[in-house]
Amino acid sequence: VEPSTGILLLSGAATGLVGAMLGLGGGVFLVPLLTLALGVPIRTAVAASLISVIATASASATVNLGRGFVNMRLGLALEVATSLGGLAGGIAASLLTRQQLFVTFGITLAVMGVIMAARSNKRNVLPDPDTDPGVLGGTLVEDGTRYVYRFKRLPVGLGASLLAGAISGLLGLGGGIVKVPVLSTFCGIPIRVAAGTSTFMIGVTAAASAFIYFSRGDVVLPLTAAIALGALPGSLLGAQLSDRVRARSLKILMAVVLLAVGARMALEGL
């Protein structure tokens, strides 16, 4: 039974809202919602999610760009790795069974949840506003104060981005779920900039695999259209709201969601 258009619009809106708040595309919530709650086959859900992720990421990027939360050069450097990973993941997706997809999804989320929870107290901004941010670092204005941050551990950032891209292509995510925690916990990027830069990148990552799903015929038109359409207003609102939530709360919210959804998805595949 195909879910009604109203339910799909609402699903897109809800996942877009939470996704944009956390700097994700929302696919991480949408795929479990579609498969577990609405009974949509996982490949259809993954394809629909990729399209919806493009909508969410692009809409929240418009908000984050205006606020200066997007570090474009950092995004570009990492995007090379994510888009390659996205292309490879999109091609490889047909090689995995349904069970393997569910288990991979679940484990990925749970691991990121643990990392995020363990490091939620760490601040990434440097005390001295005159510090040189370097080529990939930057500045951030929050509550009228100017902060400087430096990018650390480029190989970790690039490796995580490649992995994020591959997971994205396999599982229908934008990869923000991997990038935001890694950038914020290991690479010295403040969570808001990590989230903003992530939204800037994930549209491209998702697009790299979306074309493959589209031509394979996995994109079910009315279903995908309704979800993507719902995701647009949801994510515009979510991106606006993200400004009012404290950085530490964002991290804890993300950790809880990751653990819960990850466990549920892994169970489904066992």
Partner: protein, 90 residues
């Protein structure tokens, strides 16, 4: 009021907004009258929006004289074009 948004940021914002607005119109119309061709056009346009964004950023960076990151952006564009080529051959 923001000091950190550059002119290129603004251009990218406009490109993304236009892509999203037109595809949203196509999707609304397609769902309303049940036309698959409109839905298909809307989804394709949505998928092309990030591609257009990469084109704008690449041109913008070279225009700003930033050859290093312009080249980086060009590489991303090539991967996306590669993905379209792989997709059309499936």
């Amino acid at each position: 009021v923001n000091e950190t948004a550059s002119p290129l940021d603004k251009t990218v914002e406009v490109v993304l907004t236009c892509g999203l607005a037109v595809s949203a119109l196509l999707l609304v119309a397609g769902l309303f009258i049940g036309a698959h061709s409109l839905l298909q056009a809307g989804i394709l346009l949505l998928m092309l929006t990030p591609l257009a964004r990469v084109v704008v950023v690449t041109v913008g960076l070279f225009h700003e004289g930033d050859r290093l990151f312009g080249t980086v952006s060009l590489c991303i564009l090539l991967v996306l074009v590669g993905s379209v080529i792989v997709a059309t051959r499936l």
